[in-house]
């Protein structure tokens, strides 16, 4: 939308924002001055002074002329003073609403009565040269029947807002409007940047993440284009390497098959046993490598499946092999994902717990925000410094341990790739009481209800 208005760069957007904020503050101030006087400076009518003035006018008119000055002086109080004048007063500033005159005439039932009204705009003496009203806040002069005048002066307006109050009100208008507009404008500016950061994060976790949308101001669209181009290049690079390694691993199977078959004809049973063991070991490596590569290269269809049964399958398989592993989770937890791939991931995690941790307890829980899969073991755990390292390909905590204790260091790498492709991550934690805790929180996908 903003592109239509020529606001296609961060700089012009910023300038426009500042302009908009200042304009908004200024208009608010104007509106306040124009309309807020109604409540910031209540008019005389609202405090009943008109009625009092009308009554006093009638009372003073009723007494003989000689008594009028003293009577007028006597009826004043702390709110207003009253004075009598024999001549028409000279008033310098006649800023008073015609409305006030109208009200007074109605109250006196005399539409032709001469009335002068003064209303100061500020709670300050407006015109020091005005001898009649001087520094009064409001003033009114009413002519009497004999041509003399009665002058009412209201000393101050305790009911209105003081100058500093009004000033701070205006200031806060400016601040609030500026802050509001800047915030909204900055949000629209920052959102593409946040999207950018998020896309970079996603790409870090999952190289197959979709390209980011090229939206926002020109500078950011350029950055997004560059990022997407880089992402494509990296992906192609990774794919080439992966394909090559997969091809090598794949092609190793044929010579391995030959070796395995030749082994059948070895006479020495001990040599034959060792050769078979070597073949098995190499096969395990090829399998692990291929599994890792295929997870990246092939797309298993996502489907809804019984995750509890999938985890139980892995657990029971290991238990059948004599491992100390049990499942204490919920049944019939349905999840939407790629079952074979996930089976390999959970399999790797549970196998690790069995191999390195002695005994494993596998849990599966559901809550409002997802499914929590966890594996606890009774082993020595992993030094905190290595908790991240263990995910690197071919990394093994205890290098001295060889094939007897398991794989070649691709299990966790592969598992993390799979779990991340499902929008989650693997968290490793050393338990306070000893042993390792593996946590995977799977986000609930919409269709995942039983």
């Amino acid at each position: 939308m903003s592109r239509k208005f020529g606001l296609d760069s961060v700089a012009s957007r910023l300038a426009f924002t500042v302009m908009l904020a200042i304009a908004a503050a200024a208009s608010l101030d104007l509106i306040f001055i124009d309309t807020a006087g109604v409540w910031a400076m209540p008019s005389l009518r609202n405090v009943g002074l008109f009625e009092q003035a009308a009554t006093l006018t009638r009372v003073v008119s009723a007494v003989p002329v000689a008594l009028r000055p003293r009577l007028a002086a006597a009826v004043g109080n702390e709110t207003y003073t009253v004075a009598w004048a024999s001549m028409t007063p000279v008033i310098a500033d006649r800023r008073g609403t015609p409305k006030a005159r109208q009200i007074m005439r109605e109250l006196l039932h005399d539409p032709a009565r001469q009335i002068m009204v003064f209303e100061s705009q500020e709670n300050l003496p407006v015109n020091r040269h005005d001898k009649v009203f001087g520094n009064a806040a409001y003033g009114m002069a009413v002519s009497l029947d004999d041509g003399s005048w009665l002058i009412f002066k209201v000393r101050q307006r305790s009911w209105g807002l003081k100058f500093w109050q009004r000033s701070s009100l205006v200031l806060s208008f400016i601040l609030i409007s500026t802050a509001g507009i800047s915030f909204l404008a900055a949000r629209s500016l920052v959102r593409p940047i946040e999207a950018f950061a998020e896309a970079a994060r996603q790409f870090g976790a999952n190289p197959k993440a979709p390209p980011m949308a090229e939206r926002g101001p020109g500078e950011l669209r350029n950055a997004a284009q560059a990022f997407n181009a880089m992402q494509t290049q990296i992906r192609r690079f990774v794919t080439d390497r992966t394909d090559m390694l997969a091809a090598i691993s794949h092609d190793l199977r044929t010579p391995l098959t030959r070796v395995r078959l030749r082994g059948e004809f070895i006479e020495d049973p001990e040599q034959q046993r060792r050769l078979f063991r070597d073949v098995e070991e190499m096969q395990a490596m090829v399998d692990a490598a291929l599994a890792l590569f295929y997870d990246e290269a092939t797309e298993e269809q996502s489907t809804s499946f019984d995750l509890s049964e999938l985890v139980r399958l892995v657990v029971e398989n290991l238990a059948d092999q004599g491992r100390d592993v049990n499942f204490v989770g919920m049944d019939q937890v349905v999840y939407q994902g790629r079952p074979f791939t996930l089976q390999r991931a959970f399999g790797n995690l549970i196998e690790n717990a069995c191999f390195y941790g002695g005994a494993a307890t596998v849990e599966l829980e559901t809550s409002a925000d997802g499914i929590m899969f966890s594996v606890r073991d009774e082993g020595p755990g992993i030094p905190d410094l290595l908790l991240e390292r263990v995910f690197s390909p071919f990394y093994r905590v205890e290098r001295s341990r060889n094939r007897q204790t398991g794989g070649i260091g691709l299990g966790l790498t592969s598992a993390r790739t799979i779990i991340r492709a499902h929008g989650s991550d693997i968290v490793l934690r050393n338990r306070p009481g000893g042993g390792l805790l593996v946590l995977v929180r799977l986000p609930l996908v919409e269709a995942a209800r039983h």
Binding site: H250, R253, T254, L256, T257, R258, V259, R260, L261, R262, E264, F265, V279, Q283, D287, L290, A291, Y294, T298, E300, T303, S304, F305, D306, E309, L310, L313, E316, N317, V334, P339, F340, Q343, H450
Partner: protein
């Protein structure tokens, strides 16, 4: 003794497998590619084909598909692929079993025997019926070629290979009392590590997955005289 036709482009593997199977008394013919396979098929009429997936020219999958048009001869695929997808494709195109390279030749021998035993009874009408149907029973749907069990709501329930084999044996023989021995034999062949209880374990796992209440099983019932019966009727799709 059955006659095997082995199709592989690797000469060493051909000669080694030939030697191995001959040492177990089988007659073996070989072929290096599809054309040779079809020639030998008519010349020697083998009982089973062991077919490599990766072949020059037409690959194993294509050959398997072409083979199925005219013959129901059992096929075991040799595959270097590990993904379940490749396996599924092979089975969908009509292979009876598969084995992943590198393999223990004794395992291949066992599968040859198992496949031959499986196809023997219904040899007569095998050419007419779909080789790998979808079986429907109770609220369940068993896709034989994809080796998938799904609920009425299309939720996949994972099965181990042995559980699937056992369930398939049941579903292909509904309302028949099956002894543990025959179940073991039909599901896993003669090579199984013979201990009787393993069938009971697998049945109880299947019950947990299939039965609404595993305590009072309705689908796979225990027969007092020793064995199990699969009670629901099975429809083929």
């Amino acid at each position: 003794m059955p006659h095997l036709l082995i199709v592989d482009d690797d000469e060493d593997i051909l000669s080694l497998l030939t030697r191995f199977f001959q040492s177990y008394g089988h007659t073996v013919s070989i072929a290096a590619d599809g054309a040779e396979m079809f020639r030998n098929l008519e010349a020697v009429s083998p009982d089973l084909i062991i077919l490599d997936l990766m072949l020059p020219g037409e690959d194993g999958l294509t050959l398997c598909k072409r083979l199925r048009v005219k013959s129901s001869i059992p096929v075991i695929m040799l595959t270097a692929a590990t993904t379940p997808m490749d396996r599924v494709i092979g089975l969908e195109l009509g292979a009876d079993d598969y084995i992943i390279k590198p393999f223990d030749p004794r395992e291949l021998l066992a599968r040859v025997k198992a496949v031959l035993r499986r196809v023997e009874p219904d040899l007569g009408d095998a050419a007419n019926t779909p080789i790998r149907p979808i079986l429907l029973f109770d609220t369940w749907r068993l896709d034989v070629s994809r080796r998938e069990l799904r609920s009425s709501r299309n939720v996949l329930v994972p099965l181990s290979g042995r559980e699937f084999d056992l369930l398939l044996v049941f579903a292909e023989r509904p309302q028949q009392v099956m002894s543990r021995e025959s179940l073991l034999d039909l599901a896993h062949g003669t090579t199984h590590d013979v201990y009787d209880r393993s069938i009971d374990t697998q049945v109880s796992r299947l019950r947990r997955k299939l039965e609404p209440d595993a305590m009072t099983p309705m689908i796979i019932r225990t027969v007092r005289s020793g064995g199990y019966i699969f009670t629901p009727s099975v429809r083929r799709e």
